[in-house]
C-alpha cells in the first residue's frame, strides 16, 4: 500500500514536472502504431477477404455430385451463417430449332452471397448490378448463349421440359472465373423451377453446391463439423482452394501488412528500450537518495515497477484510442475502396496491442529497472558511484524472447519469422561493430577540423558507447524503414508487372485442332494479342506409386476431380522449376510429368513418384520429373499437370489460349462465336478487375501502414535525441561558462548530430540493401538495387537526425548556464 501510494505520488509529480513525457509519449505512439496497424490490417483483411470471396460468390462452398443433405444447410443456419443453394448441370437449351449446350445454373434466393450479378438488355453490353435472381418462370442466358441462340429479351428458351422467358441477359457473375472447367455458356434460372425441368434424374451429371457466408469463427467450426461427416465426393472449398490467383494476392497482402506491422512493433521496442534507459538514468540519484534514507531494494523495485505498470496501462489506453481514431481516419481516406458494409474492426488488436506493449516493457524496460535496485547509496556523496554494469544475458535474454515472440505472433510462419529474426539480429550486430569502428575513426579524424566540428566529433568519440547505441538505434529505425520502402517498391513493381495493362482478359477454350491456325488468324485480325496455344485433354489421376488415390489417407478433392492436362516444349516465363528439370530434347515422348507446387503440396508428392492417369479411357503411368511454381496471376494458360511433347499427342482434343482483346463492339464477339461455334469464350476481364481491385486496396493499405511506421520511426529518433538531452544541457552550460558562443555551440551540435546521422544512414542504407535483397528472395519478389534510394537514405537520416538533435538541444542553448551548474 505504501509502495502504491509512493508510486502514485511520484508518478503524478513526475508527470506534472514533465519528466515522464518522453517515455509516456513513446509508449503511446508505440501502442497507437501497433493497434492502428492492427485495426487497419483487421479491416483491410476483411475487405480483401470479402473481395476475394466474390470469386466464390461466397466465403466457402460445400460441393457434391449428389444432392446435399438438408442437414448441411440446417447446421449452417444454426451457426448463423448465410447460405444459398446452387445446382449446376450441363444440358441442351433450345430456342425453337436452334440448340446449344449450356451450363444450367439454378440458384436459390440470396445468390450470390458475395459479389454481384450484372445483367443487360443485350449480349456483351456493360450491364448493371442487380441484387435479384431470375423469378420463377424466367431465365437469364449469358452473352455467349444469347448470341449463339440469337435470343432477345422476351424470347422463350426451353430447358428440359420447361419453357422459360428470357427476362435479362447475364453479363457477369462473381464465380465465373473460379475455374475454367465450365466450357459451356451459362443460363441462370430459379431454383424453384428445377424440378419442373425434369432434368434431375439419377443418371444426370449434377453438381450441387451449398454457398456459405459469415463470420470466420462460425465457418471454421462448420468446416470441422462438415469434414468429420463428409461423404465421398463431398468437399469443402474456400477462397484459397478455389482461386489460386486471388489466394496469391490475398496471401501476399496479408504477409506484407504483417511485416509492415512488425516493423512498427520493433520500432516501438527501440523506443521503449531507449526511454527506459533514460528513465533509469534520471532516477539513479533519486533511488540512491531513497536508499540513503532507508528504502529497501524491494521497495525501490516495487515502486519503480508499479510506476511503470501504471504508466504502461495509461499509455496503452491512450494509444489504443489513438490507434482506433487513426484507423477511422485511414478508413476515411480509403473511402470508396473499402466496402462500407464491412463489420467494424474487432477489439482483438487493442488487447493484442496491450499484450505486446507489456511484453515489450518486460523485455526491454525490466532489465534496466533491475539496475535501479543496484544503485549504491554512496552515489549521494560520489556521483560516479554507478550500479554495476548490467549482465549481458539479463539485458539480452528478455529482449530476445520478446522480439522472437512478437515476430512469430505477427508473422505466424516459422520460415519467414526466422529469416526476419536472423536479418534483424545480423543488422544489430553489423550496426554495432561498424558503428563502433566508425565512431573510433571519427574521433581520430577530427585533428584537422575546425573548432565546432572538432568539438562535435570529440563528443561523438568521447561518449563512444552512447554514440554507438544511438547509431544502432537510429540506424535500426532507418534500416527498417528503408527495407520497407525497398519491399514496398518491389512488391508494387511485382504486382504491376504481373498484371500489365495488356494482361489477357479473354480465355478461349475448346479450340479444335484443325481450327487452331484459323482461330489465331481471326484473333490477330480482330486486334487481339493471343498468348501461347496449349493442347488440352481431360484426365483423372488414379494411382500414386501403384496405390489407388482414394485409398491414400487425407486425399484431397483436388485429386478426385477430372484434371486438365497439357504438354509443351516451352516452360514459359510465368513458370519456374523449383525441383527437378524441365524437358530436354531427349525427354520427348518419355513417360514423365511436371507438377505445379500446389498439386505437389496437396498430394505430398516427391520427385520420382509414379502417377497413374486415366486419359480418355487409356491408362498411362508417368514419373514425376519436376515441380513448378506457377504465377497464376499472369492470366496466361497454365496447368497443374504438364507432360513432355510426344506422349499424349494423339489424345489432343482441343487447344486453349488467352488473349488481350478489346472488341470494337459487342457484335464483334458475337461474330467470333458464330464463326467458331465450338470455341468457348470466357471474359476474364471481370475477374481481372476483381484482382486489380484487391491489389489496389492492398497497395493503399500498405502505403497507409507505411506512413504510420514512418511516424513511429520518427518518434523513436526524437526519443533517442531527447534521452541524451540532460547530459547535453550540462555540457553546453560548461562550454558557455568557458566562453563558447551560441553560434559555436549550435555548429558543434549540428556537426555532432549530422555526423551521427551520416554514420547511422550509411550503415542503415547499406544493411537495408542487403536485408531487402534477402527478404525479397524469401517473399519471391524481384529485387532491384537503387543508388537513389541509398543516397536518399543516407541524406535523409543525416537531415532528420541533425534537425531532431538541434531541436532537442535548443532548450539547452537558450538556458542560462548557472541554472544548470549551481
Amino acid at each position: 500500500m505504501r509502495m502504491l501510494a509512493m508510486a502514485l505520488r511520484s508518478l503524478r509529480r513526475e508527470w506534472l514536472s514533465g519528466e515522464l513525457g518522453v517515455l509516456w509519449f513513446s509508449l503511446v505512439v508505440a501502442v497507437a502504431a501497433l493497434t492502428g496497424v492492427g485495426f487497419l490490417v483487421d479491416r483491410i483483411g476483411h475487405a480483401v477477404q470479402a473481395q476475394a470471396s466474390e470469386v466464390l460468390a461466397a466465403d466457402a462452398r460445400v460441393e457434391s455430385p449428389e444432392a446435399l443433405a438438408p442437414l448441411l444447410r440446417q447446421h449452417a443456419q444454426d451457426l448463423h451463417l448465410q447460405s444459398a443453394r446452387l445446382t449446376t448441370m450441363l444440358s441442351v437449351v433450345f430456342n425453337g430449332d436452334n440448340s446449344h449446350l449450356a451450363e444450367i445454373r439454378a440458384a436459390s434466393s440470396g445468390y450470390p452471397l458475395r459479389g454481384a450479378l450484372r445483367t443487360a438488355g443485350e449480349p456483351f453490353a456493360a450491364g448493371t448490378v442487380t441484387r435479384s435472381i431470375p423469378l420463377a418462370g424466367d431465365c437469364w442466358p449469358d452473352s455467349r448463349l444469347a448470341a449463339a441462340l440469337n435470343v432477345q429479351l422476351g424470347s422463350t428458351l426451353t430447358v428440359g421440359a420447361l419453357p422459360l422467358r428470357v427476362s435479362r441477359i447475364l453479363i457477369s457473375r462473381p464465380d465465373q472465373g473460379s475455374a475454367f472447367i465450365e466450357f459451356a455458356p451459362a443460363l441462370m434460372m430459379n431454383d424453384a423451377d428445377l424440378a419442373a425441368t425434369r432434368l434431375v434424374q439419377p443418371a444426370s451429371r449434377m453438381q450441387y453446391a451449398l454457398l456459405l457466408a459469415g463470420d470466420a469463427r462460425a465457418l471454421e467450426p462448420y468446416r470441422a463439423w462438415f469434414e468429420a461427416r463428409a461423404r465421398p465426393g463431398e468437399h469443402y472449398a474456400n477462397v484459397a482452394d478455389a482461386s489460386p490467383q486471388i489466394g496469391d494476392a490475398a496471401h501476399r497482402a496479408r504477409q506484407f501488412l504483417s511485416i509492415a506491422g512488425l516493423v512498427a512493433v520493433l520500432l516501438c521496442a527501440v523506443a521503449v528500450a531507449m526511454s527506459a534507459r533514460s528513465y533509469v538514468a534520471r532516477h539513479l540519484d533519486s533511488v540512491a537518495l531513497l536508499k540513503t534514507l532507508g528504502a529497501s531494494r524491494r521497495f525501490v523495485l516495487g515502486t519503480s515497477v508499479l510506476q511503470l505498470v501504471l504508466l504502461a496501462v495509461a499509455a496503452a489506453l491512450a494509444g489504443a484510442l489513438l490507434g482506433w481514431l487513426t484507423q477511422l481516419w485511414l478508413l476515411r481516406t480509403l473511402a470508396g475502396l473499402l466496402r462500407t458494409d464491412l463489420p467494424p474492426a474487432g477489439w482483438a488488436p487493442a488487447f493484442i496491442g496491450l499484450a505486446v506493449a507489456i511484453a515489450m516493457l518486460a523485455g526491454f524496460a525490466l532489465p534496466s529497472l533491475l539496475q535501479l535496485t543496484k544503485v549504491p547509496a554512496l552515489r549521494v556523496l560520489r556521483r560516479d558511484a554507478d550500479p554495476p554494469p548490467m549482465r549481458l544475458w539479463l539485458a539480452l535474454f528478455p529482449a530476445v524472447i520478446a522480439i522472437v515472440g512478437v515476430i512469430y505472433a505477427t508473422l505466424g510462419q516459422w520460415t519467414l519469422s526466422l529469416w526476419f529474426a536472423a536479418g534483424f539480429a545480423a543488422a544489430i550486430a553489423l550496426l554495432t561493430v561498424c558503428g563502433w569502428l566508425l565512431v573510433r575513426l571519427a574521433g581520430r579524424a577530427r585533428g584537422g577540423a575546425g573548432l565546432a566540428l572538432r568539438q562535435g566529433l570529440a563528443n561523438l568519440a568521447r561518449r563512444r558507447g552512447g554514440s554507438v547505441a544511438q547509431i544502432v538505434a537510429f540506424g535500426l529505425g532507418v534500416l527498417l524503414l528503408l527495407v520497407l520502402t525497398i519491399l514496398r517498391r518491389d512488391l508494387l513493381h511485382d504486382w504491376r508487372t504481373s498484371l500489365p495493362v495488356g494482361a489477357p482478359n479473354y480465355f478461349f477454350i475448346n479450340i479444335p485442332t484443325e481450327e487452331r491456325d484459323d482461330f489465331r488468324a481471326a484473333l490477330l485480325a480482330a486486334g487481339a494479342k493471343p498468348e501461347r496455344f496449349l493442347p488440352m485433354v481431360r484426365g483423372r489421376l488414379l494411382t500414386i506409386n501403384g496405390e489407388a488415390i482414394d485409398k491414400r489417407p487425407g486425399h484431397s478433392g483436388m485429386a478426385e476431380r477430372e484434371q486438365n492436362l497439357t504438354w509443351s516444349t516451352e516452360l514459359g516465363d510465368d513458370n519456374r522449376i523449383v525441383e527437378g528439370h524441365w524437358w530436354r530434347p531427349e525427354d520427348t515422348g518419355k513417360p514423365l510429368v511436371s507438377i505445379a507446387s500446389e498439386f505437389q503440396e496437396s498430394l505430398h508428392l516427391k520427385l520420382g513418384d509414379r502417377l497413374g492417369f486415366d486419359v480418355a479411357g487409356e491408362h498411362i503411368e508417368v514419373t514425376v520429373a519436376s515441380f513448378r511454381k506457377v504465377k497464376w496471376d499472369s492470366f496466361r494458360p497454365n496447368f497443374f499437370i504438364m507432360f513432355p511433347p510426344g506422349l499424349l499427342d494423339g489424345a489432343a482434343g482441343s487447344y486453349l489460349t488467352s488473349a488481350a482483346y478489346e472488341p470494337r463492339s459487342a457484335s464483334a464477339l458475337t461474330e467470333l462465336v458464330r464463326r467458331f461455334p465450338s470455341v468457348s469464350i470466357f471474359n476474364v476481364g471481370d475477374l481481372l478487375a476483381q484482382v486489380r481491385s484487391v491489389i489496389d486496396k492492398a497497395v493503399t493499405a500498405v502505403q497507409s501502414v507505411f506512413a504510420f511506421t514512418l511516424l513511429a520511426g520518427l518518434t523513436v529518433l526524437l526519443a533517442a535525441v531527447q534521452a541524451s538531452r540532460d547530459e547535453r544541457r550540462y555540457e553546453t552550460a560548461i562550454m558557455r561558462v568557458l566562453g563558447a558562443s551560441r553560434s559555436l555551440l549550435t555548429r558543434s551540435a549540428l556537426a555532432e548530430f549530422a555526423a551521427l546521422g551520416l554514420l547511422a544512414g550509411v550503415l542503415a542504407a547499406s544493411s537495408a540493401a542487403l536485408g531487402g535483397w534477402l527478404l525479397a528472395r524469401q517473399l519471391e519478389l524481384h529485387y532491384r538495387s537503387s543508388i537513389l534510394l541509398w543516397v536518399a537514405g543516407v541524406l535523409g537520416t543525416m537531415v532528420v537526425v541533425a534537425a531532431s538533435g538541434l531541436a532537442a538541444t535548443r532548450p539547452a542553448l537558450n538556458q542560462p548556464p548557472r541554472s544548470v551548474l549551481n
Partner: protein, 223 residues
C-alpha cells in the same frame, strides 16, 4: 561498546583499485562518538573525509575493520539491513542538497517518515518546514527554491525523523557566506533541540569550531 557510544570505528580501512594497484583512501581509523556529541571531521581535499563519512553512515563498504552504528555492526548487515538502520537512526544533509526534484518541499520532508511507514508524516513534515521558516513554500518544487531554501528543506528532511545521528557533508559548501551562516545557525539550533549526535565533514574552520570535537584527517588517516 559502552552504552552512550552511538558510533564506533575500529581499524577502519577502505581501498579502491587503480591502474597503479590498490589505493588506500582511509586507513587505521579508530574513533568513538558518544550520544549528543558534535564532531567535525576536517582536512585538506582528498584527505578521505567524505569517504570516511560514507563508511560511518553505511553508504559504502569497508575493506577492513569494523563500524558500529546505534549498536549494530554495519559490516554484519547486508545492503537492505543497512538501509533499514539508516531509516531508523540516521539523517543526512548534503553539500548539493539532494532534494527529489519531482517532489515538493513538503513531500521531500515527508519522505523519511513515509519510508518508516509513519502515519502523521504530513503534519510532522509541515511542522518541521515551519521550524525552518519555509511554511509558505511547502508546495514549491526544488527548482523553484533558492540554494539556501533548498538546504533548509534538506535540513528539515534530515531532522524530521529525529535521528540518533545526523551526518552532514559540507552543508554550506554550495552556499554564499551570509546564507551559509544563517543555515549554520539553524542547523545547530535544530540539533540542540533534538539532542542529536552530529558528524560533520567540512572545510570551514569556523563551522568546525562550533562542534564539540574536531578530528583532522590527512592522507586517509586521523592525525
Amino acid at each position: 561498546m559502552t552504552r552512550d557510544v552511538v558510533l564506533k570505528a575500529e581499524q577502519v580501512m577502505r581501498q579502491v583499485s587503480s591502474p597503479d594497484g590498490p589505493l588506500t583512501i582511509v586507513r587505521d581509523v579508530n574513533m568513538e562518538i558518544r550520544a549528543r556529541e558534535s564532531v567535525a571531521i576536517v582536512g585538506p581535499s582528498g584527505a578521505g573525509k567524505s569517504t570516511l563519512l560514507a563508511l560511518l553512515a553505511g553508504l559504502d563498504t569497508l575493506s577492513a575493520g569494523r563500524i558500529w552504528l546505534a549498536g549494530e555492526e554495519l559490516s554484519a548487515l547486508d545492503e537492505d539491513g543497512r538501509a533499514a538502520l539508516r531509516a531508523a537512526h540516521v539523517g543526512f544533509v548534503f553539500q548539493s542538497f539532494h532534494l527529489v526534484p519531482a517532489l515538493t518541499a513538503l513531500e521531500n520532508v515527508m519522505l523519511p517518515l513515509e519510508l518508516r511507514g509513519e502515519r502523521n508524516a504530513r503534519d510532522r513534515a509541515r511542522d518541521m518546514l515551519a521550524r525552518v521558516g519555509l511554511a509558505a513554500r511547502a508546495g514549491h518544487y526544488p527548482r523553484q527554491l533558492s540554494g539556501g531554501e533548498q538546504q533548509r528543506v534538506a535540513m528539515a528532511r534530515a531532522s524530521v525523523g529525529e535521528p540518533a545521528v545526523l551526518f552532514a557533508d559540507e552543508p554550506t559548501g554550495n552556499l554564499d557566506s551570509v546564507t551559509g551562516e544563517r543555515i549554520i545557525e539553524l542547523f545547530f539550533e535544530l540539533n540542540a533541540a533534538a539532542q542529536t549526535t552530529l558528524v560533520l565533514v567540512t572545510h570551514d574552520r569556523e563551522l568546525a569550531g562550533r562542534c564539540g570535537r574536531v578530528l583532522t584527517m590527512d592522507g586517509g588517516a586521523l592525525v
